[in-house]
């Protein structure tokens, strides 16, 4: 342990007056941090194993535990931060690529927090959402460019297949394998109750969840895990995953220890083998090839389901989006660089990709300029943290948003960022039965429904404040936003005025 030993980043503080040695923390810590010392009758803990997931803190009946930064620091150095030094120690010791989970935690600017929302005062009346109907129903899909009429002049509904949502919020793709069976069930049931959709992620769809098909978006990724005809037809829409905000340009990586039981069966890959999906779709080497995959999927599902193309927000995203809008896809999903992941190389997660706010604004602007904004709907994600982010995203031009990390938090996740270990103490990003059972699907579903219901109310409150009573009037309505602490360049990209104007 010599050269690369470094003092744990966090340590557990146990209040001796409060601790009654009930050993709940010991039983509930899958990382084996806590233990009972028979001799002294006291609880002891090994901070080095702690991932700061707060399971013990949450369950301690006498609130005797808290987790604090250990305060141990190398000589302070704003260039060589503690983290960079530790990463070198780890790599000097392992020689391997550092893996980590969830979204980029670094101190890049978060544009959501620099955008402010409008409210009516005199010029137009604000609307009281408790008295007037407030409409958040959203249709995602291609909008017709021309009206068609039949022989006796009646309008022919030439509308491509749409996704109808009660709320412009969908659950982002998280594969069965990265997260547990119970987590998937919660997302599916909540989506069904709320009237929105959850995304299977690149792990295929467990046969038990086919019954939630009409609220499911089935993902087709480069690895084609679990993709077969029934799978494509089971969902309400098909999403081609080109990229993911946390790891643009590379494939997915599910550690072998998570490929067990019916996960390998659902993914149609052998037990225990690492599920590495290749970087590119090997049938899409240029934007033109996307057109073929889109239509082969439409062909396979009799043109009854909208096709979504999910890309990571990277440089030149507007041009990419424009290509996608012309590929026959019905919806484009853009995943910002803060988006989460079950496992991704730390370096890529923390340095590759651009903020979703800028990407979204740029794409919406470009499609409007090219007059093809109606070709596709835009879903943005990575990461939406609250309902204000949702309103800002829609005002910047999104039709709807994907939330994934927020959903995990609602299920109990405490963002300890160690999903790749498969040891999730909250029963979400794990396949160990004794941990999976920690997520009661009734409770999880209820929590997701509560969160979305709460966000729904908040969105209608904010809309009402702006005098808007239907979500369509908020979409792309940049007049409702103002920037603060942003450069003119950033304001221009976002297409919003500065606060005070």
């Amino acid at each position: 342990m010599a050269v690369d030993y470094f003092y744990p980043e966090y340590e557990i503080v146990r209040d001796p007056n409060r601790c009654i040695a009930c050993r709940v923390c010991e039983r509930q810590c899958a990382n084996k941090v806590h233990s009972y010392d028979e001799a002294s009758g006291k609880m002891v803990c090994d901070d080095a194993k702690c991932v700061n997931c707060h399971r013990c803190v949450a369950l301690c009946p006498t609130r005797a535990l808290k987790i604090v930064p250990s305060g141990d620091t190398f000589k302070s150095n704003s260039n060589w931060t503690d983290n960079y030094m530790k990463e070198i120690y780890r790599q000097a010791n392992s020689g391997g690529v550092l893996l980590s989970s969830m979204g980029n935690p670094d101190n890049f600017p978060v544009y959501w927090d620099k955008i402010l929302i409008n409210a009516s005062q005199v010029t137009n009346p604000s609307i009281d959402p408790l008295r007037e109907p407030m409409e958040t129903r959203t249709f995602l899909g291609k909008k017709p460019t021309h009206v068609k009429r039949d022989s006796n002049g009646r309008l022919v509904p030439n509308l491509e297949p749409q996704l109808e949502l009660a709320l412009p919020i969908l659950f982002g793709g998280m594969s069965y394998g990265a997260i547990s069976y119970n987590a998937h069930e919660c997302l599916a049931r909540a989506a069904e109750t709320i009237g929105t959709f959850y995304n299977t992620g690149e792990g295929g769809l467990h046969k038990d969840f086919y019954k939630y098909g009409k609220n499911t978006i089935v993902q087709v990724a480069s690895g084609r895990f679990g993709v077969h005809k029934d799978y494509l037809n089971a969902g309400a829409a098909i999403e081609i995953k080109i990229g993911q905000g946390a790891k643009p340009g590379i494939g997915g990586h599910l550690p072998g220890l998570k490929i067990v039981g019916d996960i390998s069966q659902t993914r149609m890959i052998p037990m225990g083998s690492d599920a590495i999906s290749p970087a590119p779709h090997h049938d899409i080497y240029s934007i033109e090839d996307l057109h073929q995959l889109v239509y082969s999927l439409k062909e396979a599902t009799n043109y009854e389901k909208p096709v979504i193309v999910k890309i990571a927000a990277v440089h030149n995203v507007a041009a990419i989006a424009s290509g996608v809008a012309r590929s026959g896809a019905d919806i484009i999903a853009i995943d910002g660089f803060r988006g989460g992941t079950g496992a991704a190389p730390t370096r890529i997660r923390d340095n590759v990709g651009i903020p979703i706010e800028l990407a979204l604004a740029a794409v919406d602007q470009r499609l409007r300029e090219e007059g093809i904004r109606g070709n596709i709907s835009i879903i943005c994600g990575g990461s939406i943290r609250n309902s204000a982010d949702v309103v800002k995203a829609i005002a910047l031009g999104a039709d709807a948003v994907y939330i994934a990390t927020a959903a995990l938090l609602a299920l109990g996740c405490h963002l300890c960022r160690s999903c790749h270990t498969g040891n999730c103490n909250w029963g979400i990003a794990t396949q160990k039965p004794e941990l999976v059972k920690r997520l009661n699907t009734d409770v999880g579903t209820e929590h997701l429904i509560n969160m979305l219901t709460a966000w729904g109310h908040e969105i209608t409150e904010m809309m009402g404040g702006m005098g808007i009573n239907s979500i369509e009037a908020l979409r792309g309505n940049r007049l409702m936003l103002r920037g603060i602490g942003l450069t003119d360049r950033e304001l221009a990209i976002l297409g919003i005025k500065h606060a005070g104007e």
Binding site: N124, P125, I127, E132, P133, E135, R137, F139, K143, P144, H146, V147, R149, R154, L155, P157, L159, Q162, G467, I468, N469, S470, E472, A473, R475, G476
Partner: protein, 132 residues
């Protein structure tokens, strides 16, 4: 650009460019609520849903009360919440439209019919000679 100009461009796009009827145009800019649509007959429900979905961004949620002149007649329309007032009066083959009932009665004290159209419900008046 004033609100009036914006609305005029919207109507022009919908009626002239897209070829929608005046009623269909009204069903876009003052689209009924989804709850109202869902109570309609299937055919009507499909028609209104189609219009509201296809031209979603042209829905005007701010309150308005407009008079639109077109070759051969007049259209009067309130926003779907009817936050603005509008009254229509008739006497013989004369039609009077104003924000307030009092204005009509000043012009025509013996007006025969007078009513206030519901939000989003267009009132279309055409000149007689066109119909013969």
């Amino acid at each position: 650009m004033t609100d009036t100009e914006v609305i005029t461009y919207i109507v022009d796009f919908l009626v002239r460019k897209q070829g929608l009827s005046l009623t269909e145009m009204s069903n876009v800019i003052a689209a009924p609520f989804w709850s109202t649509i869902s109570r309609k007959e299937p055919a009507e429900r499909e028609r209104l849903s189609y219009l509201r979905n296809a031209f979603a961004s042209l829905l005007i949620t701010g309150p308005f009360s407009i008079l639109l002149g077109f070759e051969g007649g007049l259209l009067a329309l309130n926003d779907r919440l009817k936050l603005r007032s509008m009254v229509v009066g008739e006497k013989g083959d004369m039609v009077y439209i104003a924000s307030e009932e009092a204005a009509i009665r000043v012009i025509e004290p013996n007006v025969e019919r007078i009513w206030s159209p519901r939000g989003g419900e267009p009132v279309i008046v055409t000149l007689d000679h066109l119909h013969k």
